[in-house]
């Protein structure tokens, strides 16, 4: 099979509709008679609802109904959490608050009106009387005692968990030095450019509910929402139309989704709700949110003997789909790309009066990588060694094939050659010269820093045993009678470009033009059950399912071609869309288009063959994949103001075999910029009353074009042995690899001032205070 598409920078097939404004996101779908919903949300972080008066709102012009927790929470089951941990305390999270609110933004009532203007007006007419309760905000303090959010638990601790292998006490005891550091992973807002949105329509005759919702997991959401609504799963059709970014925030099942379904049944009308950005900041999940303590033991030569990470993880007030599971991913990845004989994570999940944390690009792994990479830098600083040398000292030898690398966190890394990406990145940067330039710059009084991170991440989530709701993926490939190819994938791409990369696979496998391939996803009535798009699994798991279905299809098509060609036992070859065989000394061939038609006409099939040309595969990965890479950031700091300017940014990533380099670059670029956001700009801030004060994009700084550097990218290709294509995944790599590199560069720049660690986001004022030796003043 000649590779015509795979490996090439093919322009995306989904783009024509997107660049012309012809795509359909939820809010672009118009149904006649649609009613519009708007929410009243809590303005307190923790309070009893003493009274709720919706009378005036109900009487307002254009208002069809107002629902409160009393009505809705009886009819709709709790918002689900799919994570299971020993001893986990799961709060009862109702779609509308009944007698108590536990975070700012928690929905209390929903107004449904003829149009969104009337709905919004009526929200202002609802009267709520609150009785404030003391707020619980800091995860570490809340774990020690004080006011309790969920009385029935008697504590704010949702769970405790110890993970890791090896004798950590002995490992630390055997160390020449133990370096300790407290680090913060502040809360981040995912800020997908398309806020969430739901459109629901009920067909009473068919007793069928259709939900269009901006989600990454259409099938999982269907199952969960059907359970919440107490309806048969196969009477709920869930459609993820065009989805404007997710980054984990739409890997979830939200109260509003079930509510809209229920309301459309109650009112027998289509009903739509589109989230505002303010709601998005308040009530869509946040990412990160950990306060951790690193303890790392090392020998004088830089060899790491053991790593302990004690962490308080901020859960928020309730669980969303995966909330408590996120820190477990941190625990899994604490070995980074290093040989660490003993690792221990002690995690404490803590309830706070904030919206739930959950998966945000990287989901637990950026925290781990940041911990390990900070540890490497801290060890280097403690020992007076070069940070690159310390990393090299602890790299495992290249591995792969049937020899994985086992970590003390219980994982088997599939394949890796960490020196390969590091060397390439150092060469691109001309690292020795960078250090010389830095020396010269310092002599001139300039403040220049170089940060290096070497990371490994865990992708292709994942083996089902390790996933809360199945880790496999599905695909159906059909060749229609007219030889057009249809791929149904259980993935739900929302920007990743898999309509293109899957079409590339089909193009090469079937010898067809990718413009003759249509990839369908996101509609549970059309597509077989699937798991969805998250955890950098789309290509490695979903793409593998497509690959396997294509193989099956090829097999059948070849058999049919042989039959039609009367090839007998002669071998049939397939090239450029044509099946050929030497039959009785004559070269006979038939095109795949002809085979497709023959399969559907079914007049001349082998006796044991079913008509049609379609194949379905469900791929269950045997292991995760472990992409890796090396990032180098070079920054210069303005001595006078503390402003941080990038001089260079270099990234060499290895995500296994690459199907479309253009898409891989796009993923890495976007990931790096989100990482820069975390390192330097982004921070969800609640004040001491639990008010979300970074409540809009006026205060929450999503990086703009002017704020980010030109990125110099390259890659290596170490195939994964886990799947037949050798792909690994790249959706989160940038976010995971870049954050520590950027932070490290700033800290390296400031090392002459005695700095070894700073918490993110590193703001100009923080830098200025260090340069000017000022302690943090009162704000």
């Amino acid at each position: 099979m000649a590779e015509k598409y795979v490996g090439k920078s093919v322009k995306r097939t989904e783009d024509p509709r997107l660049i012309q404004g012809l795509a359909h996101y939820v809010d672009d779908i118009k149904l006649p008679d649609t009613a519009h919903a708007a929410f009243l949300r809590s303005i307190y972080a923790h309070a009893h609802i003493k009274s709720l008066d919706v009378g005036a709102a109900r009487r307002a012009p254009g208002v069809l109904a107002v629902f409160t927790g009393l009505e809705a929470s009886g009819a709709i089951g709790p918002v689900p959490c799919a994570a299971a941990l020993p001893g986990l305390k799961v709060p009862d999270y109702r779609v509308l608050a009944t007698n108590k609110v536990c975070f700012v933004g928690q929905p209390i009532a929903v107004v449904v009106a003829e149009n969104k203007y009337a709905a919004r007006d009526a929200v202002d007419l609802i009267q709520v009387e609150y009785e404030e309760l003391p707020v619980v905000l800091n995860e570490e303090k809340a774990a020690q005692g004080g006011p309790v959010i969920h009385e029935k638990f008697g504590t704010n601790i949702a769970y405790t968990l110890t993970a890791g292998e090896g004798d950590i006490e002995a490992a630390l005891k055997s160390a020449d030095k133990i370096v300790k550091q407290k680090i913060l992973h502040r809360r981040l807002a995912p800020v997908a450019m398309e806020p969430r949105g739901v459109l629901a329509r009920y067909y009473p005759g068919e007793q069928e509910l259709t939900l269009w919702t901006s989600t990454q997991i259409p099938h999982l959401a269907r199952t969960q929402i059907a359970i919440m609504l107490g309806m048969p799963e196969n009477k709920l059709r869930l459609i993820a139309p065009e989805v404007g970014g997710g980054f984990g925030s739409k890997l979830n099942v939200y109260a509003e989704e079930a509510l809209m379904g229920w309301i459309s049944m109650e009112l027998d009308r289509p009903v739509k709700w589109i989230e505002t950005r303010r709601e998005n900041m308040q009530a869509t999940i946040h990412g990160r949110g950990q306060t951790g303590y690193i303890e790392v033991g090392c020998k004088k030569d830089g060899t790491i003997t053991g790593l302990r990470y004690n962490v308080y993880a901020d859960m928020g007030a309730y669980f969303q789909l995966l909330t408590p599971a996120i820190p477990t991913l941190t625990g899994l990845m604490l070995s980074g790309c290093y040989k660490i004989p003993a690792i221990q994570m002690n995690a404490t999940g803590v309830f706070t009066n904030k919206v739930a944390t959950d998966a945000y690009r990287g989901a637990g792994r950026p925290e781990a990588t940041y911990v390990v990479e900070r540890a490497m830098d801290l060890v280097a600083a403690e020992l007076g060694l070069d940070a690159v040398a310390v990393r090299r000292k602890n790299f495992p030898a290249p591995f792969g094939g049937d020899k994985p690398f086992k970590t003390a966190t219980g994982l088997f890394y599939d394949s890796g050659d960490y020196e390969l990406t590091l060397k390439k990145a150092l060469d691109m940067a001309n690292y020795p010269k960078l250090r010389e330039d830095q020396k010269r710059a310092r002599n001139e009084g300039r403040i220049v820093g170089i940060g290096v991170s070497t990371y490994v991440e865990i992708c292709a989530i994942g083996p089902s045993a390790a996933a809360p709701a199945g880790g496999w993926e599905s695909a159906t490939v059909r060749i229609e009678p007219t030889a057009k190819v249809t791929i149904l994938t259980g993935c739900s791409p929302h920007g990743q470009g898999q309509e293109t990369s899957f079409a590339q696979l089909a193009g090469d496998h079937l010898g067809v033009n990718i413009n003759d391939v249509t990839v369908i996803h996101g509609d549970t009535a059309i597509v077989q059950y699937g798991i969805g798009t998250f955890g950098s699994r789309g290509t490695a798991v979903g793409g593998t399912a497509v690959y396997m279905a294509l193989e099956k299809l090829n097999e059948k098509a070849t058999k049919l071609a042989a039959h039609i060609l009367e090839a007998g036992s002669a071998p049939v070859t397939f090239q450029d869309g044509k099946f050929s065989a030497q039959v009785k000394g004559e070269n006979k061939s038939i095109t795949i288009q002809e085979v497709a038609l023959a399969a559907h006409l079914a007049r001349n099939l082998p006796p044991d063959m079913e008509p049609g040309l379609s194949a379905t595969s469900f791929f269950e990965p045997k292991n995760f994949t472990f992409p890796f890479g090396s990032h180098i950031a070079v920054v210069e700091i303005d001595r006078d103001t503390g402003e941080i300017h990038f001089q260079r940014y270099i990234a060499v990533d290895d995500c296994g075999k690459v199907i479309n380099p253009l898409l891989v670059h796009g993923q890495v670029h976007g990931g790096i910029v989100q990482a820069i956001g975390q390192a330097l700009y982004e921070e969800v801030v609640y004040d001491d009353q639990g008010q979300l004060v970074s409540g809009t994009l006026m205060d929450y700084a999503v990086p703009r074009a002017e704020m980010v550097p030109w990125m110099e990218l390259d890659r290596t290709e170490t195939p994964s042995p886990v799947n037949p294509m050798g792909v690994k995944g790249v959706g989160e790599a940038g976010t995971i690899g870049a954050t520590p590199a950027v932070v490290s560069a700033v800290i390296d720049a400031l090392s002459p001032f005695g700095v070894r660690h700073m918490d993110m986001p590193i703001k100009p004022e923080d830098v200025w205070r260090i340069i000017n030796k000022k302690s943090a003043g009162a704000a």
């Binding site: 203007y117 006026m698 004022e765 200025w768 205070r769």
Partner: protein
Amino acid sequence: MIPAQFDYIAAKSLDDALSLLAKHKDDAKLLAGGHSLIPAMKLRLMQPGVLIDISKIKDLSYIREEGGHVRIGALTTHYQIESSDLLRRICPLLPETATHLGDVQVRNRGTIGGSLAHADPAADWPAAILALDAELVVAGGKGERVIKAEDFFVELLTTALKPGEILREIRFAVPKGKVGQSYAKFRHPASGFAVVGVAVSLTKDGSGKCQSAGVGVTGVSAKPYKAKGVENALKGSALDGKSLSAAAAHAADGVEANADLFASAEYRKHLAEAYTRRALDAAVSRAGK
């Protein structure tokens, strides 16, 4: 995202707008570019009963040089100022300030008069008009009056405009001689507003010394202000590194500085000094020998 209800009236002329304002009083708000007003209305922080749209009054949008003065109509957009060849020639400070303001879309629509009347403590224009010692021509029911820029900003979001008055024109003497101007801004990473913004317009005398200097500062405190300490220190100075540093040190004299999530009061005061120095350096280098 959705404003509360209001009545909309498009004023046909300045007189029409004045009489509409007189009629609807406090219940009415003037709508020019709308880039301060409409965002606040969408969040329902403002819920006026009546919007009087003055943006279609044609004769309030102009940039002219007349009798040694520059006159800018209040409805002139930021982009018109940014792209004005006349201003680039005779008062480049204004086009330069405009390039720092909001973003392209905001500059296309927002007006200098609307921005000044809103008096956001971190808006860019106030710094420039303070540096230029501009005068603001205000129309009212009883005729016109002129307010000096430095008297215009009263406190947070509050100007010297009285109820029923409309800012009509911004005017200032054309800077003459060896003029050097600059606007230096530390931009808030999210909002784009000035954490600190410093505008400088100075002139050199024949010997290269500072003949006159105007320095306006925004973002630092509840209202933009004229940095008189800096101006006084500059006058007659050699405009060398030492005198510029000494002058910049007065950038936040006597000012109660703002604090927010991004920058403390102490840091803001420091930035005021640092950015004043930057603006001075640029202005001096542009003033020629």
